[in-house]
């Protein structure tokens, strides 16, 4: 090999994932796979009522059962604090009532845990939990956010009068009012973004072990953010030093937001492990996951959009009731405020916009971030309203979009809603590409012909922009976020030339081990196989805020790159010293440092690492070892965008929708691994189209969850999801040196309205202007038949 032979770049290549061999052979290590010597099992006694006083708890029968070690209630755990309310709505008064480890005196949702049984095995624990006798005094319940804040509604928490969590606003009310009052055209709609259940295939749980001699815990948890959980559990819940807790997230079987939050089971397993001196395990059943772990969305919105007859949008006014559920989950208030209201105008230049959001407690499961978190609600709203407006003025919906897009020269673009400026974008090429793939003009002809034959096809367009790489800390501080949002990484080049990367990000399906290794191998010029990426254990990885908000590459990945840059800088100094050259004359490429003009005279990164490690001959003042840590706090978020198009056919007899084509053109900036990016887009789309067609958590008026199992809540199967056609444009982000934006949530943010717009387009001959989700056959049938 000669010095000038270039190593093949890995960034941009669709490498298959290094994570997979153990997962495809059954050797993954998920939470429930972990067994500790002497481990006890927890089963919970959960409330069958949505709202009730706890009159009495009698555990005598349970305690008498062989194999039962203890039964505890909420009152036993008053020595620990409730879970923290970490993200509150910015600039307004919040009334946070987060949950306790176990309910005390009253319950506020079906599934609220009132007691826990600890037993030798999970079968005995379950039997004993059924034997605990609890007397309740039922109270009236409320499940609808808008009704919950009306006078006379049942009051859930004394600390939150009228069930209000917060009232928040953004934008310019006077301008929006004026734009609507003076508009040529105003369209108005009540838009419901229904409640969804995230449904990672692995449910949640915790295993805690306590060492009484040191006062230290180790907790294994299904977590997207173990460092944050460590901080919150020690500093806020237990009031002990952070150093007393080690959190480990093993393989995590999907999160989609549900595993970001600090949950009661983390606290009660810790509490019980300390009390009993034995390790304890709690793993939810699916029906427990459905009742108690967080849900997503659940907005009721009144929206008005104003414009001119020739298709210019002039104003938008939005009033939303956001259901927060029975208690305040960890970042619950940030989702329907900053991540929703501030991006409500989407990809359009709308001169006057105003959003008002009321967060409300109800007797339902807590609502917090679910894939997309706020941005799908915003994107759904604006994209539905734009289509509604296009239909009202009789203009092609693609044309209305073109007329109102933010233009390339407008970037960085300030939307006037208190968001940081959109970093970069070029929206029209993505729209055009998607329409071209769909054969838009041709389709419109075909659609007209088929309508004559009684067949109802429709095409839907969704042009979206979202907020990824969520940071910077200083800005997020002003948004009510109770911490920073930087990420860190450590990169070490060992004596043997092998590289170890430790990251505070927490991959749970995103393939970050592969993606991060691709970046490091390229940047450092070492073989891909020589790079190991470690994550998940707070002991041994630097602090990170976790993996969510499509931020792990744009923030965590950049922290890695910066550590590599520092290593190269040090290696360059060392090479100059060893090669007796000026530092300025050292060229670093392909994992090798050499003197400019003499490529044969050089040192590989492995040789330099060895030299740095043995430290026989270092420049004066240089510390041994190539080992660097970076803390990266980006200057802005990133703003991926794109256009999705879908074609549907509606069966007018039954209301069934057949998805004929789904086309996604996404721009997430530079792609490190296109295979992984495409996989993220596919999965995101499936979740969004499932919201449009199948999914919806339903409570009855008494607060009973009617979709409490997978027999009732329709997570789509392979047969319910269409073939997905993907393409992309590339507009690198100027925010970070990798030029990346993020891809984890884009599919979900784009797809629900894409499908709904297509269905409503198909139903245009029946005069249908809007439909609520999910567009079940019955809903469509009713719309067609006017029932």
């Amino acid at each position: 090999m000669t010095a000038i032979e270039m190593k093949e770049r890995l960034v941009g290549r669709a490498l298959k994932r290094r994570e997979d061999p153990k997962l495809i052979t059954g050797h993954g290590n998920y939470l429930d796979d972990i067994k500790l010597p002497g481990m006890l099992h927890i089963a919970l006694v959960r409330s069958p009522y949505a709202h009730a006083k706890i009159v009495s708890i009698d555990a005598s029968k349970a305690l008498a059962m062989p194999g039962v070690v203890a039964v505890f209630t909420g009152k036993d755990m008053l020595d620990i604090n409730p879970m923290p309310a970490a993200w509150q709505a910015a600039g307004v008064k919040n009334y946070p009532v987060p949950p306790r480890a176990l309910a005390v005196d009253k319950v506020a949702l079906v599934g609220d845990p009132v007691a826990m049984v600890v037993a030798e095995d999970r079968y005995i624990a379950r039997d004993a939990a059924d034997a605990v006798e609890v007397e309740y005094e039922p109270l009236p319940a409320v499940v609808d956010a808008r009704k919950a804040v009306e006078p006379g509604a049942p009051q859930i928490h004394e600390a939150a009068p009228n069930n209000i969590v917060f009232e928040w606003e953004c934008g310019n009310k006077a301008a929006a009012d004026a734009a609507i009052a003076s508009a040529e055209v105003v369209v108005k709609e009540e838009i419901i973004n229904q409640r969804l259940i995230p449904t990672p295939m692995e449910t949640r749980g915790s295993i805690a072990r306590y060492d009484a001699t040191t006062g230290e815990w180790t907790v294994w948890m299904t977590s997207q953010a173990p460092h944050v959980h460590r901080l919150l559990l020690t500093a806020f819940v237990f009031g002990v030093p952070e150093t007393k807790l080690r959190c480990i997230a093993p393989n995590v079987g999907g999160g989609f937001g549900q595993k970001i939050f600090c949950y009661n089971d983390m606290a009660f397993t810790m509490w019980a492990a300390r009390k009993l001196g034995r390790p304890v395990k709690f793993v939810e059943d699916r029906s427990e996951n459905y009742k108690y772990s967080t849900h997503g969305r659940d907005h009721i919105t009144e929206a008005e959009l104003a414009g001119t007859r020739d298709g210019k949008i002039t104003g938008l006014r939005v009033k939303t009731w956001a259901n927060i559920g029975a208690y305040f989950s960890t970042v619950a208030a940030g989702i329907p405020t900053t991540l929703y209201g501030r991006i409500i105008t989407g990809v359009y230049k709308i001169p006057a916009a105003y959003v008002h959001v009321t967060g409300a407690y109800t007797n339902t499961a807590m609502v917090d971030a679910y894939r997309g978190a706020g941005r799908p609600e915003a994107s759904y709203l604006i994209e539905r309203m734009v289509d509604r407006f296009a239909a009202e003025i009789g203009m092609d919906p693609a044309e209305v979009r073109r007329k109102n897009f933010i233009q390339p020269e407008d970037f960085p673009y300030d939307n006037g809603l208190g968001l940081l400026p959109y970093d970069s974008g070029n929206y029209e090429p993505a729209l055009n590409k998607a329409l071209e793939i769909a054969g838009y003009a041709e389709f419109r002809k075909q659609q007209a012909e088929l309508r004559q034959q009684g067949r109802y096809l429709g095409i839907g367009i969704s042009s979206y922009v979202e907020i990824c790489g969520i940071a910077p800390s200083a800005w997020m501080g002003g948004q009510g976020w109770g911490a920073g949002l930087w990420e860190s990484a450590n990169v070490r080049v060992h004596l043997t030339g092998k590289v170890v990367v430790t990251t505070g990000s927490l991959p749970h399906g995103q393939g970050l081990e592969t993606t991060f290794a691709q970046i490091v191998a390229d940047e450092l010029g070492v073989p891909y196989e020589d790079v190991e990426v470690q994550w998940g254990d707070t002991q041994g990885t630097p602090f990170g805020y976790g993996t969510y908000g499509s931020r792990s590459l744009a923030v965590g990945g950049v922290a890695i790159k910066r550590s590599v840059d520092k290593i190269k800088e040090k290696a360059r100094k060392l090479a100059a010293h060893l090669l007796e050259a000026n530092e300025a004359d050292i060229v670093f490429e392909n994992g090798r440092a050499y003197v400019k003009g003499s490529p044969d005279k050089g040192k590989t990164i492995g040789e330099l690492a060895a030299a740095a490690a043995v430290a026989y001959n270092l420049p004066p003042g240089m510390e041994p070892f190539l080992d660097e840590t970076s803390y990266y706090d980006p200057p802005n978020c990133t703003f991926p965008f794109g256009t999705h198009v879908c074609i549907v056919e509606v069966d007018p007899e039954t209301g069934h929708v057949k998805l004929l084509r789904y086309i996604a053109v996404d721009d997430c900036g530079n792609q490190i691994n296109p295979l992984i990016v495409e996989g993220q887009i596919h999965g995101g789309i499936a979740q969004g189209l499932a919201q449009a067609l199948y999914e919806g958590a339903v409570y009855n008026e008494d607060g009973q969850l009617l979709t409490g199992t997978l027999m009732d809540y329709a997570v789509p199967t392979a047969a319910m999801v269409p073939h997905i056609e993907t393409d992309h444009t590339v507009t690198p982000s100027p925010v970070n040196p990798l030029g990346v934006k993020g891809a984890g949530e884009a599919g979900t943010i784009a797809s629900a309205q894409c499908v709904m717009n297509a269905i409503i387009d198909a139903l245009a001959p029946f005069g249908v202007k809007h439909l609520q989700m999910p567009a079940t056959p019955e809903r469509i049938w009713r719309a067609i038949h006017g029932k």
């Binding site: 059954g26 999907g254 699916r286 399906g509 073939h723």
Partner: protein, 160 residues
């Protein structure tokens, strides 16, 4: 307690079990074969699919006592002599998994599907995997992975 004898991945085990012990708990807790997962309570998700006497079943809806005398194959027993099964290879090549939690059940179900129908269309693959939920992939790459395996197995029928 009842005594059962089962052969799992070619190894014979004799165990004392409670009649109510679910096969999935027997595999995971008694035999420490944790590759078979539990994702639901109602037989919808398929994370627990294993083969009993060569036929795919949901091990969360089967009692261990019912398997007395049976041959069971789990995901841990699918690769032979370090050689991945074509389906395992397909899932890896085609990025047919993300979090990996549904993957063992999905692969075991797909293996039965290909036994019934060695050359399925995409639609037949989708219909044939209706007993398995994946929340990550949107199924697009799972379909590709199964197609990859079908082609590979057709080219070298001895691979199974």
């Amino acid at each position: 307690m009842t005594t059962i004898t089962v052969t799992v991945n070619g190894v014979r085990y004799t165990s004392e079990v409670e009649p109510r012990l679910l096969l999935v708990h027997y595999l995971r807790e008694h035999l420490n074969l944790t590759g078979t997962h539990i994702g639901c309570d109602t037989s919808q998700c398929g994370a627990c699919v294993v083969h009993i006497n060569g036929v795919s079943v949901k091990s969360c809806t089967t009692l261990a006592v019912q398997c007395d005398g049976a041959e069971i194959t789990t995901i841990e027993g699918l690769a032979h002599d370090g050689q991945l099964h074509p389906l395992q290879e397909g899932f890896w090549e085609k990025h047919g998994l993300q979090c990996g939690f549904c993957t063992p059940g999905m692969i075991m179900a797909a293996a039965d599907l290909l036994k019934r129908n060695p050359n399925p269309t995409d639609e037949e693959i989708r219909h044939g995997l209706e007993g398995n939920l994946c929340r990550c992939t949107g199924y697009e790459n799972i379909v590709r992975a199964v197609r990859y395996a079908a082609e590979k197995m057709a080219a070298a029928p001895a691979a199974d």
